[in-house]
């Protein structure tokens, strides 16, 4: 184990490199990459690594980047790519193909606003467009967490009970370009932690066709199997957490991260780096004697409804802060989780930090000032409107 100063982008690439090398005794590693701000440093770093039995292919588009990953995984190799925003949108079709073909590609996404009009700063709206298509989605809040999650995502995605792509999200610049000390395990530890990639339906010697035509009831069966495999993710992840602790001697983050939430009356719910800011806001409000807590949702697909419901139980007021907007509806995390609260609870949608705007503790305090007197939830609100 060493400690290195790394940006989150570089951390994600290093985690992928270690995972790639860990498969050198298996079918190796192959990845397609294409640059886009603010994800570019991730692919640059990957391209600078020596990977035994590995190849990183520099393609002409994100669509082809995922195309390479699909081919590589269909041939039984470990695979990874990184992108952002419009790059992810351009990759969209092949992300779905990778999911439907049940290929365990890991994707590091530096979340960025979709355009034009061009805006290169953080926004979760890019990754959330892929929420319905059978890819696991994690949202991270700091460098170490991102590194650990990327590494674990390989194990999770490649687990035979799961077998599907996994996206690991970090907000562009806010996290992707933040440099922090990161614990980096030795290759031998990673070799211990990650079994060799074994994709049972990979192309081999026996003639069979991947991705061919299906009739309606076959599609229903396959979607249902995929859905149920997704529902297994929290269970499999819990096993991986134990393994992780055993091998690396430190813990892997839970799928949801509560903070001073148990005795809270009011809960702030968010994803990504806003969750850390929310914890500072909680401390400020607790100092004033307010019973406030925070819940950071790390795993968004599958949505850990049981864990979220357990933390929503008994809360009178819940502020869900989204760094995204489903136009015509409101915050996506809010719309997906509001039904999990107790009857009568006020679950209010706040959208903040869209297009990369700074979200500071005082902003969150202001939102709670707006929430406190409410007897019923109002329409979703933008931070500026509070």
């Amino acid at each position: 184990m060493t400690v290195e100063l790394l940006s989150a982008n570089h951390g994600a690439a290093l985690a992928a490199t270690l995972a790639a090398r860990a498969n050198r005794k298996g079918r190796g590693f192959c990845s397609g990459v294409y640059p886009i701000t603010p994800s570019t440093e991730c692919m640059e770093y990957l391209c600078q690594q020596k990977i035994e039995k590995g190849r990183v292919i520099k393609v002409e588009s994100e669509h082809s980047a995922m195309g390479v990953c699909i081919g590589a995984a269909a041939a039984g190799a470990r695979s990874f790519t990184a992108t952002s925003s419009n790059g992810l949108a351009y990759m969209f079709e092949n992300c779905i193909a990778a999911a439907m073909l049940r290929l365990p590609v890991v994707i590091a996404v530096a979340n960025r606003t979709l355009g034009p009009p061009w805006n290169i700063w953080a926004d979760h709206s890019d990754a959330l467009t892929l929420r319905d298509h059978g890819l696991i989605q994690f949202y991270c809040a700091d460098n170490q967490e991102l590194f650990d999650t990327v590494l674990s995502a390989f194990r999770l995605a490649e687990d035979k009970r799961v077998m599907m792509p996994a996206m690991v999200n970090m907000e562009g610049f806010i996290l992707s370009h933040t440099v922090a000390q990161t614990n980096i395990p030795d290759q031998a530890q990673v070799d211990d932690f990650l079994p060799l990639t074994d994709i049972p339906h990979r192309l081999g010697d026996v003639p069979h066709t991947l991705g061919q035509i299906e009739v309606p009831h076959q599609t229903e069966v396959h979607r249902w199997q995929h859905h149920n495999a997704m529902l297994d993710v929290p269970k499999v992840y819990a096993e991986i957490q134990k393994e992780f602790e055993g091998v690396f001697g430190r813990s892997l983050h839970d799928i949801v991260v509560p903070y001073r939430a148990d005795d809270a009356e009011t809960l702030i719910v968010s994803m990504g780096t806003i969750g850390v800011t929310a914890e500072r806001a909680v401390d400020m409000l607790r100092a004033e004697g307010k019973r406030v807590g925070s819940l950071r949702v790390r795993l968004f697909r599958p949505l850990p409804t049981d864990a979220i419901r357990a933390h929503y139980a008994g809360k009178k007021r819940i502020a869900v802060i989204d760094r995204n907007i489903s136009l015509g509806l409101g915050g996506i995390l809010w719309s997906e989780t509001r039904a999990l609260a107790d009857p009568g609870a006020v679950v209010q949608s706040y959208m903040a930090g869209l297009g990369g705007g700074d979200v500071r503790p005082e902003h969150i305090v202001k939102m709670l000032g707006d929430l406190e007197p409410r007897k019923i939830a109002g329409p979703p609100a933008m931070m500026e409107a509070v």
């Binding site: 292919i57 393609v59 195309g67 390479v68 192309l203 010697d205 991947l210």
Partner: protein, 308 residues
């Protein structure tokens, strides 16, 4: 396809017992892609191959889960990324020291149009892929719309008056990528076809075969006349059959007789040309210009190549 193809001259017991393209497929009768696959089967012989098929008639022909029409491991990809996916497959095979031929089977829409960027990039990287484009000059499985491979004058479902623009010169474009091997293939000349398939199978790097693939459904032609149409296209000079090595050396494989009679026959046997009323006289100047250029590129007049 139990009928011995190639006049019984070439098909082996193995070809019949283990076809690349199995019985019960959904291709239209007389489809050039079916013939291409029977020829390819014979050329492949004992070599280990895998198919990558983007959306095209070939993706439909692959059949419905869980049966497979293709007799080799096959990956169906999205429309625009077969060369990228094939790059992944070929790379993993190379990393594992496997002697595998990665073959893309794609239509003209996936090659000339939507997959063009991915194709160009894979050619630029000189990936170890054999790309076979069966060019039926139309979007076949969507019901017959124009592509950039559709020749001027052809009526399609979205060019009811006949297409105005010329067909893209895909071979010249591929040659400009300086790939090791690019060739046009006439299914009506079995020996030349097989020789090229075998040669292409055994080269390293990016190889491209452009097959003029009769499509009775889109061409509005008699299914039994497919190979005859190809023969007429070759004889008249409309479809030049040649090969390009490393983007430099051009070799003409079949010498046409530039017969206007053949050209008129080619046009009149396909209802897609009826409306525009094209005749040999309309096409001849462009054909002459093309051949003038081809002669200067090849540097000599080469008679039809005969295999031993």
């Amino acid at each position: 396809m139990n009928e011995p193809a190639l006049c019984g001259m070439a098909q082996t017991e193995l070809d019949r017992a283990e076809p690349l393209f199995r019985k019960g497929n959904t291709n239209c009768g007389g489809c050039g892609m079916s013939i291409t696959l029977q020829m390819l089967r014979h050329a492949v012989a004992q070599r280990q191959v895998q198919f990558i098929v983007p959306a095209c008639c070939g993706a439909v022909a692959g059949g419905a889960f869980p049966q497979s029409t293709f007799g080799v491991p096959t990956l169906m990809t999205t429309f625009a990324c077969a060369p990228a996916a094939a790059s992944g497959i070929a790379s993993v095979a190379a990393l594992n020291g496997e002697d595998l031929r990665t073959i893309i089977l794609a239509g003209d829409g996936g090659t000339f149009d939507i997959g063009f960027a991915s194709l160009s990039a894979a050619a630029e990287r000189n990936e170890d892929i054999l790309y076979i484009c069966y060019d039926n000059e139309i979007y076949g499985n969507t019901g017959g719309q124009r592509s950039s491979a559709t020749p001027a004058g052809a009526v399609t479902t979205n060019t009811p008056e006949g297409k105005v623009e010329q067909k893209k010169d895909i071979l010249a474009i591929l040659a400009a990528h300086r790939i090791p091997y690019a060739a046009s293939v006439s299914l009506a000349h079995a020996e030349d076809t097989l020789r090229k398939m075998r040669y292409a199978l055994d080269q390293k790097g990016f190889r491209f075969l452009h097959v003029l693939s009769p499509c009775p459904t889109g061409w509005k032609s008699e299914p039994a006349l497919g190979l005859e149409l190809v023969r007429l296209a070759v004889r008249s000079g409309l479809f030049p059959v040649y090969e390009i090595f490393d983007g430099k050396r051009h070799v003409v494989n079949i010498e046409p007789d530039f017969s206007d009679e053949a050209l008129n026959m080619y046009l009149s046997l396909q209802r897609r040309f009826q409306k525009s009323g094209l005749t040999a006289a309309d096409l001849r100047p462009a054909i002459d210009r093309y051949w003038q250029n081809l002669r200067s590129l090849s540097g000599r007049i080469v008679p039809a190549r005969r295999d031993a």
